[in-house]
Symmetry: C2
Subunit: 322 residues, 2 copies
């Protein structure tokens, strides 16, 4: 994977410059808060996807830099709002913007970045581009809302869960990869194939994330184990556990959640059950099946370097933190 990052180093540097130029504003809240979030250690995974897909599609121009910045601004906008909604105090080990500048400014800077991104997109005068991004952002908001509506609800089905992560996470990665194909002026079929690749990558990404939440090394990720559980987010490992465990265990888990009894003892109890019933492996297997699906989605092009890189990226999505 290091080689893949190296392959895109120059383009990624240009994306970085573009993001900082896009965040410039005579309103200091925009530039300061925007930079705080953008510099808080995100990997620029979506820009990487756009660089590689546009290369695979044969694109040799420079617009992918501007569009990759747009995708990062949209992603940043959702993080500003997510942190307010989750009442998060830290992100990647740093204080969240809401802790430093308040919820009000976080909501409004999110709104601003989102609007600013839309301004850049429509300036390209490309209808497919417009529709790809606006539909992705609609799905993202819908996914976040559905996640909120199902908060703490243990009756959520695997199907509901997959729909939520598809909307909230996979849709933006699908759009990112489709944009690569749009830039390369690919056929309609190929655009759909690129989009499917991004969608599956996104599904695998979120499934891995949700599973890692129950196994992550605290020091390594700056996250505590079971954060989703505490926030009432019912993700695949918990869902799968509730389906498999005894009724007595299920009732105990329900009690822990409904009474917010997230003691170390209770968390250990749930983590042990997860091991016992193999739900971590089950969730990772599902993530890996999306990786396989992604790998089969890509159309064949002559240049095999970006293709090989994208296949490497696909594997990395699940194995990045294991």
């Amino acid at each position: 994977m290091e080689e893949v990052w190296d392959l895109c180093r120059e383009d990624l540097q240009r994306v970085e410059e573009q993001i900082h130029s896009d965040l410039k504003s005579n309103l200091s809240l925009i530039s300061i808060m925007g930079s705080h979030l953008i510099n808080s250690g995100g990997k620029r995974f979506r820009p990487l996807l756009m660089i590689l897909t546009s290369r695979l599609a044969g694109y040799t121009g420079k617009s992918h830099t501007e569009l990759a910045s747009v995708i990062e601004l949209i992603h940043a906008a959702t993080l500003f709002h997510d942190d307010v909604i989750d009442e998060a105090s830290t992100r990647r080990g740093n204080k969240t913007a809401r802790m430093l500048w308040g919820n009000q400014a976080s909501i409004l800077v999110g709104d601003y970045l989102y609007a600013k991104a839309q301004c850049t997109i429509v300036s390209f005068h490309n209808h497919d581009l417009n529709e790809t991004i606006t539909e992705a952002t609609r799905k993202m908001a819908k996914g976040e809302l559905a996640q909120l509506a199902f908060n703490g609800d243990l009756s959520i089905t695997e199907e509901d869960y997959l729909e939520i992560i598809g909307n909230k996470t996979a849709s933006l990665m699908a759009a990112t990869c489709r944009i690569g194909a749009i830039l390369g002026e690919c056929s309609s079929e190929q655009r759909t194939e690129f989009e499917s690749f991004g969608w599956s990558i996104g599904m695998a990404f979120q499934l891995a994330d949700d599973t890692l939440d129950y196994i992550a090394n605290k020091a390594k990720l700056g996250k505590s184990v079971g954060k989703d559980l505490e926030e009432g987010k019912v993700t695949l490992p918990l869902l799968a556990l509730l389906k498999r465990c005894s009724q007595a265990d299920a009732e105990k888990i329900e009690r822990v959640i409904s009474l917010s009894e997230f003691t170390e003892e209770n968390l250990k109890y749930i983590l042990n059950l997860m091991k016992e019933y193999g739900v971590i492996e089950y969730s990772l297997d599902m993530a890996r099946s999306f990786v396989e699906k992604a790998k089969k989605s890509l159309p064949l092009f002559e240049d095999t370097i970006p293709l090989q890189a994208l296949l490497t990226v696909a594997d990395y999505v699940v194995d990045r933190e294991l």
Copy 2:
């Protein structure tokens, strides 16, 4: 003005149906919260502007219904976020969505409505339309942010204040009127004229609103006097007062605001000063000067009925609640 509303009754009814169809969703939070806000007594002033401007521009199609709904959705999205930011408990005498469904849902439904509106806009495949709306929403977010940045800051200048209300309020009305001209396939010059009309109307609208905050009849508007003052929003009447009154009075006002001493006695004291220094009239005069500017912006067309109606609307903007 009643005649103007009557003139547009049928079109407004169609807009109403369109809004309700746009709010339909398999996620009940969207339809229920959306309907709650939309049905809370807004006058559909922006749809009225779009209907009349598109008629004046000679448009005879039906797209203005869909686009007027889009404008209302964007307006609703900002109200959802505004109410969270202002910690508002009521809007037009009804409980706000955040009091009924919480801040989290209010933020996300706002995000969703905004994204949904963008999806509809780009489906028209009209670049001017796309750029008009995205630029307006960018300005709106910027205006709200600047308002927040200046919260409680008595050093704000009249120029800063006018820029804020231009961005947060006038930009959407300007866009609404420009869309009327776009639908009528007007020339570039005429589009700018329609836009200027909407901008001036929006400036007059917000100036009147901000002035009414210090004189409104509580029972009539379901609002209390001096709400902006309590929220730290420094608007023209207060600004103008601080510029005119004695240093001792200015210091007392500053103390009231910095210590949040909004007693009835202090409010009366400030209101009396406002009368004494004629700042209510000063603010209303400025509002009326924007009305006059608006009236002079409109290009001449053969059909004088929508033109007369728009001139009536312009006067109504300032005199609606006096």
